[in-house]
Structures are given as C-alpha cells and as structure tokens.
C-alpha cells in the first residue's frame, strides 16, 4: 500500500448542509410554538379551539407568518436588507474568529466581549482625538483597536502561561473590568463630548470612518471581516504558527515533547484572538451606522457581540469558512429581528431563542436525524475542533 499524496479538493459535506438547514427549520418551528403560546390574543382563540378551530389557526398563522415574513424580508429582502445583514455579520465574524482561534489552541475565550470593548475604546479614541489625513487615520484607528483587543487577550494568555490562572475565570473577569474601564473613561474629559455631561464621546472623524457603498450598509468592515477569515485560514492551515496552535490545542503533551512551547503558543493565540475580537470592537466604533457616521463611544457600544461570537464560533466549528457562514446567518437573524420587531411587533428576544435553538440542533445531529428521519446521520460528531475536556 503506497499512499499517494491525495489531491485536496473541496468536498461539500451535503449531510452537514442538510442537517444545518433542518436545524434552522426546527428552530423556527419551536420559535413559532413559543410565539403562539405566549401571545395572549392567539391563546384566547385556542380557548374555544374546538368550537371554531379556524379562528385559532388563522390567528396563529397570521402571527407566525407575519413575524417570519418580516424577519426574512428584513434579512435578505433586497439590497438594503442584505447589506444590513453583512453589516451585522461583520463584527460577529471577527469576534467569532477570535473565539474560534482560541478554541483551536484548546483555550476557551469567553472574553471576546471585553476584548471587543477595548478595541472599540482605542479605535474610537484615535478616531475622535487625532485628526489625520484620510486613509492613514482609518488605518491607525483600526490598528489601534486591534492592539487594544490584543492587549486585553494577551493579558489572559500571559497569566495562563505564567501562573496557570484558568482562562475561563480570567476572561469572565476581564469582561467586567473592560466594561468598568469604559464606564470610567466616559466620565473623563478625554473621552466626553465637549459641553456634555452624558457618558458619550465625540463623533469619530470622517477620515476614520469606514467607507461604505452608497445605498446600503455594505462597508469596509465586511471586507475586513472576510480578509480576517482568510488570514485566520492561512494562519491555521498554512503557517508554522497555526501548526503549533493546532498541535498545542489537540495534544499539548505531544506538542511540548516535540519542542513547541505551550506557554508561548498560549500567549500568541490569546494575543491574536484578542486582536480579532478587537477588530469586532473596531467595527462597532468605526463602522458607519445607517446615518453614515459611526455611533459615538458609549457604554453599550459593542452590544453583545462578544457573547454572540461564542455561538458563531461554535456553529462555525471554529473554522474560518464556517465562522463566516455562521456569522452571516446570525447577522441575518439580527437584521431580520429588528425588522420583525418594527413591522410585526414581535419582541427581539425571539431571535435570541432562535439563535440558541439553531446551535443546539446543529450540535446534536443525532437528534435532528431522529426528528427528521429521512436525513442520513453524519459520521463525525459536531464541533470536532472545539476542545474536548472542557475546563481542563
């Protein structure tokens, strides 16, 4: 048996695709049930279901179809919505890459939120304090944000490598600290908008704002997210650093025996993961909002990007392409969710439920194939690259 170097070619894992689609459908079905159950008006019609079932059914249908139609239309119904989806997806992809990269090294980076906050702080500060020529200003602001996030992540890696402090604890705490830091900075003159006492910063310079295509929300940020994904792919699959990251993640003992420094790899990984999450913060700080200007720095600047990123990384199986797709899916859910709320008056929290259910179903293909029996069970278990062994 003389093994030929097998030619790599892109194999589309059809059963994975089908299971993901089935998971999304199942999640929407559960979401629909929740909507019916919790809607007082629709429920009241079920009270006399047996007398006149049509009332209940029609009301349910109207409720569900109204909400989901608005959701889908708001996510992919035209150029505007689609670019809105990309705008929502971009930071999710960046932070998801950060979480995923750490996963590949066997590290649970729960701290993307704090790293994104740091990224946003630095990027916005450079954006509204310095006044530089076009191009340079944006570049420096982005780099600053990357470094801010990297610094915040790097601290975690350094503590883990030097003292063994568990990264889950440290990242959780660093999230709180980042938020506290932001709250403090926003009360200092350096960050406050002149003449205002509110914790809100000046508006970022036009030169430091990410350029966008007219007519929609497609802006540089999405391109950066895609570039980041390619970079992470290259790093993991084609570089020596990535080789070490993967080896340390898969078997730190063997990696150490083969001469790799687990400590150094941990620090590098957390540094890079922090930079990626920082890039998500940069998007929040420098990305144009619907009005064309970035939103000023405030306490809620990064929303829940860092936490959503964990589910994005999980759904994307910590792989760059998967992360991009998962980021787009959740970006679409967010974009559509806002539309669903404003058009169909359905609370935004429903999208949170959908997001959780989708990941849950995708993570348990055996369950999905049990519910939808005509799907072929896939061989490998979901989430291969996620480190096994949890909080070891």
């Amino acid at each position: 048996m003389s093994p030929e170097p097998r030619k790599r070619r892109l194999v589309i894992p059809w059963s994975d695709v089908l299971i993901t689609i089935a998971s999304i459908v199942l999640a929407f079905i559960v979401g629909a049930l929740l909507m019916i159950f919790s809607d007082t008006e629709v429920r009241s019609k079920f009270a006399y279901f047996f007398a006149r079932p049509s009332d209940a059914l029609i009301a349910s249908w109207e409720k569900i179809s109204g909400a989901y139609a608005a959701l889908i239309k708001g996510a992919i119904g035209g150029y505007g919505p689609i670019t809105e989806t990309t705008a929502q997806a971009a930071p999710l992809i960046c932070a998801g890459l950060g979480v995923g990269l750490a996963f590949r090294a066997g590290l649970f980076n729960i701290g993307a939120q704090g790293q994104a906050v740091l990224g946003a702080i630095v990027a916005a500060y450079i954006g509204f304090t310095w006044h530089l020529p076009p191009g340079i200003h944006l570049l420096l602001a982005i780099l600053g944000g990357l470094l801010g996030g990297a610094f915040w992540g790097g601290i975690v890696g350094w503590l883990k490598a030097k003292t063994g402090a568990h990264e889950v604890i440290v990242t959780i705490m660093m999230n709180y600290i980042a938020l506290g830091l932001l709250a403090y900075l926003l009360t200092t003159p350096a960050f406050q908008r002149p003449g205002r006492t509110d914790p809100i910063s000046p508006i970022v310079d036009w030169n430091a704002t990410m350029p966008r295509l007219e007519g929609g929300q497609l802006h540089l940020g999405f391109l950066l997210a895609l570039l980041a994904a390619v970079a992470v792919w290259w790093l993991l699959d084609r570089s020596t650093i990535g080789f070490a990251i993967r080896a340390v993640g898969a078997n730190p003992h063997a990696a150490a025996t083969a001469g790799m420094s687990v400590a150094r790899t941990t620090i590098i990984t957390m540094f890079l993961a922090g930079a990626l999450a920082g890039l998500a913060g940069v998007q929040a700080a420098l990305g144009p909002s619907a009005s064309g200007l970035p939103v000023p720095l405030s306490l809620g600047i990064v929303g829940s990007i860092g936490f959503d990123a964990i589910t994005v990384a999980l759904l994307g199986q910590s792989k760059p392409l998967g992360t991009v797709l998962a980021g787009l899916l959740f970006g679409a859910l967010h974009a559509g969710g806002l539309a669903m709320q404003s058009v169909a008056q359905t609370p935004l929290t429903l999208t949170t439920v959908l997001q959780a259910l989708i990941v849950l179903f995708v993570a348990a293909p055996a369950l999905v194939t049990k519910i939808v029996p005509f799907l072929k069970p896939r061989k490998t278990r979901a989430f291969g690259p996620v480190p096994e062994g949890g909080l070891a």
Partner: protein
C-alpha cells in the same frame, strides 16, 4: 383586532367588525435605546406616553426596541419607512442619529427624551427635545426627607453614574443642605458627595438584589430614608425599607411609586415624578393637531413636568408645617429665589 373578553369561556365571541381608527390616520412611533421599553425608567415611561396617546387620540403607533447602539440609526429609519408622522426617541444615546434623521426627513416630526444638551442642535425645526429638570423636584424631596428623618441620616444611590441619574442626587443633597441651613440642623446624605460628584452606584440597573444590598448598607449606617435612583434595582431598596419594619422609608423616582410599585406604598413617603409620559403624549397630540414646535420642552416644577407625587399613606405622617414649607420652597424655586446647582441640569 380587539382582544375578546377573557372569561375563560370556550365559546367563540360574536363576530364583530373591527373598529376603524377614526379620522385621518396619524402615526406616532417610538425608538428605545438599548435599555428597551421595559427598563422601568425613561424608555418605559416615554412608551407609556405613546400608549396613552394611542388610547386617547385613537392614533396608530409603531415602536421598535434597540438592541445595541449600532441599531439606533437603522431603527429610526425603519420608523420613517413605516410612514410615521412623528417619531419619539428615548435617551441621549440617540441624539446624533435623531438629529441626522430629522435633518434628512423634514416632513417627519421628531422628539427626543432626556437628551441633555439641546444647544448642540442647530435650528432644526422638526426636532423637539423633551427635558426634565428633576433637580428641582429632588430638591423638594431632599428638603422633605431632611424634615422627616429621625436619625439625621439619609441615603441615596444610583444605578449607573449618568447625568440623568446624578441630577436627582444633586438636587436631593442640595435640598438637604438648604434644610440644614434653614433649620441649623445637621442632616447628612450618605451615598452622594456633591462636591466630588461621586457616590454610591450598583453599577447596573437590573440588579435588584444589588440594589437591596446597597440600601441595606446605607441603612446600616443609620439612614432612615433612602432615595434610590436606579430603575428596577431601586426596587431592592424598597424591599429593604419594607423589611426594616417601619424604621426605614423610601422616596421613589420617575413615577409615583405607590402606583408603579404598589406593594411598597406603605414605605414610600413620596416620589419624584418625572412626567415623561405626559410630555410625550402632549407632544404627539400637538403634532397631530398641527401645533408642533421645536421649542425644547423642559419639565419643571412650574409646568408640572416634574414634581413630588402625592404622599398617599404618608399624608397624615408628614407634618402640616413641613408641607407648607415645601410649598414655599417650591414657590422659591419657581421664582428662582432658590437656585439649584447641578451640572446635570438641562441647560435649555
């Protein structure tokens, strides 16, 4: 469609034609900040104004909650797209985006609640700031509390250190100072240092349990009246007061606590009203009637945009003398005989 009567009946209601909105369709809409409409604070109160307007004026409404700061501009736009005639936005965080939207959509009328710096607005004719000088009413609350305390110690704390929060604390502590000066007493305010402009915060508006503990801390230092400015987290302070078995009472903020937190009425001396719902409703009404103006609205003691709520169960416990002093102080504030210093006050 109208919700059918809920009698647990399993019989279907008679088919009824759905009531059509009378008159020309006017649509008023609202966008929350990332606190959402259930924040038990300005979002919620403003939202109540919208609902009131709907009930009273029979108008159509639309609303959208924001999830993060990145959503504001888009959500305002979505309300514009939904053909709203008037859009109310809640909170200073939306100021930039509201201004931009107002400029871009001159046909739509805008109002923004609690944006503290209307002077930064250039002459935009379709944007009306709704502001509240709650320092004035809090001053009264401070005076009242100073007159009511037995321990000569009062406590206050905030949720997050924001001007819309600290304005209450500033007013409150100055009311106490004024009382001390008038009566040569030595009532202390714990939890807010007006000179340092810093004090006690839970760090979070949602943390009810944290609010309770913070209040208990103040109480342990001897405060017998607490003044929580912390949204839902303030409920914890009401609970702490209730648990003291009558030794400690509270003054609520934003709404009349005896209405919004009914169970605690027996411990609520009064509340510092911030009448956002009325302001929002009136602004919508004006817009519907065609009398909208971009003149900033500042709720004051004078125009009842802010003030003390009724004493309810404390009506008999507040000495008549103190009540009349309060009236005098109120008149002095209105006539500017008493000036209140707070950098968080609306400067309009």
């Amino acid at each position: 469609a109208e919700a059918p009567g809920t009698g647990g009946a399993s019989a279907p209601p008679a088919e009824s034609p759905s009531p059509t909105a009378g008159g020309a369709a006017f649509k008023a809409c609202m966008v929350s900040d990332d606190g959402g409409f259930d924040d038990k604070s300005f979002n919620q109160n403003s939202h109540k104004g919208l609902l009131d307007a709907k009930a009273e004026l029979g108008i159509e409404t639309g609303q959208v909650e924001s999830n993060s700061t990145a959503d504001y501009a888009k959500n305002i736009q979505s309300m514009v797209d939904a053909n709203c005639n008037m859009i109310v936005t809640a909170g200073f965080l939306l100021s930039d985006d509201t201004l931009a939207a107002a400029k871009k959509n001159p046909d739509v009328e805008f109002a923004i609640v609690d944006n503290n710096d209307p002077k930064t607005y250039p002459a935009v004719t379709n944007l009306k700031p709704l502001l509240f000088n709650t320092a004035q009413s809090s001053f009264l609350a401070g005076y009242l509390a100073a007159g009511m305390t037995k321990t000569k110690k009062l406590g206050t704390f905030g949720g997050v250190k924001l001007p819309t929060v600290t304005i209450f604390m500033d007013g409150f502590s100055q009311g106490v100072d004024y009382y001390n000066k008038q009566k040569s007493t030595d009532v202390q305010v714990l939890g807010w240092d007006a000179a340092k402009q810093d004090g006690q915060f839970t760090g979070d508006f949602d943390d009810i349990k944290g609010g309770q503990r913070t209040a208990e801390g103040l109480i342990s230092q001897g405060a017998d009246i607490v003044f929580p400015v912390a949204g839902p987290a303030g409920l914890g302070a009401l609970q702490a007061a209730k648990a003291s078995g009558g030794k400690v009472n509270a003054i609520w903020v934003d709404t009349d606590g005896c209405v919004s937190a009914e169970t605690y009425c027996s411990n609520i001396i009064t509340s510092v009203n911030k009448v956002m719902d009325v302001a929002v409703r009136d602004t919508i009404k004006a817009a519907k009637d065609g009398s909208f103006s971009n003149e900033p609205y500042v709720g004051t003691l004078e125009n009842d945009g802010t003030g003390l709520a009724p004493f309810h169960e404390f009506d008999s416990k507040v000495p008549a003398e103190l009540k009349s002093e309060l009236d005098a102080v109120k008149a002095d504030i209105i006539s500017a005989k008493i000036t209140i210093e707070s950098k968080s006050q609306p400067s309009a």
